[in-house]
């Protein structure tokens, strides 16, 4: 279970490193009070839950494949969050810091690009639009580099018509 509707407890999330680990990199995304100059009072996160669970699993597996020797943990909050609350936490332990930083950064980038989670920034008057960055072009073609590689035999078997 990577998604939770409960506050993320960072102390509990922080796993003990393995004896061969020399580096830990933790990234935490938190709800901030403004976005492009507009005040935000809260953020609502919505997920396609079953798919988000499997896509986050793909992120974990793909990052671990890209950076061998790393151990990757991810948790993502859903529901309505207040300013300052963690929305996502990614913990990477690795033998060395180069790998820990690179894997942690890759995990958050892939999560943001491929995991079906949406957010609505709520303004002081209670209104708020869904944030819609541009979809990565690969994804618009129905391809995810994560699941193509590892988890989508159907896609690999079929040729475009």
């Amino acid at each position: 279970m990577y998604l939770t509707d409960q506050p993320i407890d960072l102390a509990a999330f922080f796993a003990a490193p393995r004896p061969s680990d020399g580096a830990v990199c933790l990234f935490v995304g938190v709800v901030r009070n403004e976005s492009e100059g507009r005040e935000t009072v809260a953020i609502e996160y919505q997920a396609y839950e079953e798919m988000a669970e499997s896509e986050i699993a793909h992120v974990v597996a793909s990052v671990s494949q890209e950076w061998p020797g790393t151990s990757v943990r991810i948790t993502h909050r859903v529901g309505r969050l207040s300013i300052g609350e963690p929305s996502v936490a990614i913990l990477v332990t690795a033998p060395h810091r180069d790998t820990a930083f690179a894997a942690c950064r890759l995990a958050i980038e892939w999560l943001k690009e491929y995991v079906p989670i949406w957010k609505r920034e709520i303004r002081p008057d209670g209104t708020g639009d869904w944030v819609e960055p541009r979809s990565p072009s690969l994804l618009s073609e129905g391809r995810s580099p994560l699941s193509d590689t590892l988890f989508n035999p159907k896609w690999r078997q079929e040729d475009p018509p």
Binding site: Y48, I108, W118, W130, E132, P160
Partner: protein, 81 residues
């Protein structure tokens, strides 16, 4: 045949529903169903191209044919993190 369609975020707001079952002819592709939905839900036509789609919780290209019992979702641009 029958497929289940899921709506999220701005698509859910535009459709006014979170999910529904749809009867579609055999051979209907992901893109064909998107075009049907776009005619019903005006807000969908703001996308010049079909948005990313998932069948049974995996991203799939638009030319993939649907099968009876599939769970289909068209996904507005994601913004997790």
């Amino acid at each position: 045949m029958r497929v289940r369609v899921l709506y999220f975020a701005s698509f859910r707001d535009a459709a006014g529903r979170a999910e529904e079952d749809r009867e579609v002819p055999p051979g209907t592709r992901i893109l064909d169903l998107w075009e049907i939905l776009s005619r019903e839900i005006p807000a969908f036509s703001r996308f010049r191209e079909m948005p990313p789609a998932a069948v049974n919780r995996l991203y799939q290209p638009s030319y993939v044919p649907l099968e009876d019992g599939d769970e289909v979702a068209y996904l507005p641009p994601v913004a997790g993190g």
